[in-house]
Assembly symmetry: C2
Homo-oligomer: 238 residues x 2
């Protein structure tokens, strides 16, 4: 076993234990390919599999206790989401993170999140809004960064669901994954996540008031803020 393999296996093992309580051990009811997808995706997003590193199908399969087929299906899916790159008959790699990709993905995300916010003002149910509201209110700004990040992702997924458009939801989810990966990349250098929390409360308020224009504007602004912060961090070091 090479050093790269050992590294991956070690990282994967820790991730497995972290999610082991989610799925029941003795019931392989869910599809192995789906399980593999979630596991590998999270390893990529959290950078536990570093960008550019080698991904070996057999090693992953052995680590997860499954064959190569579910792994392959998961990887093919991740290729479409641009988190993984496969060079035929050569190897599979975690996709590199290009700083220009931040701007490219946000170009797409910004109008779509705006659309999602507009639709949410029409379709979000009061109960959902209140649930999200209490979640946001229950979080103080001095939480752990990982927690704040998780809340951030939850809020966006909530927004996508409230838009009641499965196409929009799945497209935006993919882009959120890409953004989360970039965020993890500079996680220790990003200064203030609390501001995101405030902006999210503002978006939620606009949805509650059924103010489509305000919801769209604040949702877009939320991403612009994010982009500016990222650029400040990314280009200050460069």
């Amino acid at each position: 076993m090479t050093k790269a393999e050992e590294y991956v296996e070690q990282r994967v093992a820790s991730a497995m234990s972290a999610v082991s309580f989610v799925g029941v051990v003795e019931t392989p009811e869910e599809l192995l390919a789906d399980r593999a997808y979630v596991l590998i995706r999270d390893l990529l997003i959290t950078l536990e599999i570093a960008p550019g590193s080698v991904i070996n199908e057999e090693v992953l399969g052995r680590t997860f206790g499954m064959g190569r087929t579910p792994i392959r299906e998961a990887l093919k899916r991740l290729v479409l989401e641009k988190l993984v790159v496969v060079y035929p008959r050569r190897g599979t790699f975690a996709a590199d993170v290009q700083i220009q990709d931040l701007a490219l993905t946000l170009d797409v995300r910004i109008p779509l999140e705006g659309l999602a916010a507009v639709r949410a003002t029409r379709f979000a149910e009061v109960a959902d809004i209140e649930a999200m509201d209490s979640l946001l209110k229950g979080i103080s700004a001095d939480e752990d960064k990982k927690v704040l990040l998780d809340i951030d992702a939850q809020f966006h997924r909530f927004l996508y669901q409230c838009a009641r458009n499965p196409y929009l939801e799945s497209t935006l989810s993919q882009y959120l994954n890409l953004s989360m990966r970039i965020l993890h990349l500079v996680l220790d250098r990003v200064p203030n996540l609390p501001i995101h929390l405030a902006e999210q409360k503002e978006i939620l308020e606009a949805i509650r008031e059924r103010d489509a224009e305000k919801a769209e504007a604040t949702a877009k602004q939320h991403l612009v803020t994010f982009e500016n912060e990222m650029n400040a961090v990314l280009f200050s070091r460069d």
Copy 2:
């Protein structure tokens, strides 16, 4: 072999012969899975595989002269694009076309096509614009509907490429596929495709003049026109 299988096989065989001149027979350089993806996708878009009909992996594999694995990978990809539905351990089916899906997909497409048009005004090269222009000019409005449809798709793909954003391009391509499928559904009832040709010329003109605002507006309007036409046809029969 069931009747459904015979039907699919027959349809597939005709499609194979239709594209056989494209790929060289003796050189399996390209990946079989990619070839299978394109073949099956086009069969779905052109409705040669009817919505709701059964898709049998083995039958497709035999028809294409390959095993089940490439077919499986292609189908998994098509599931993500929502052209195919798989019920685990039960069967695979061509996704149904819901009339509401037209509005849902266009909701997403409209802002993104606008974005693509805006970006195209910045990044499109003169040579590309001229090539597209001569293609559009060379087509008269009384061409065969299938030809006009193909031109329409080519124009959109051209727009996506000129936007110089691979994320945007791949996302929009998926939505274009879905739209093309709906278009094929009502192909014999849709009245005037020539108007699309005129609108496309207008979009191209805006790009040539580097008028971002006009390009965005006309690109969006192009889709609104499409939506109105579709709705007129779809709901008039209902």
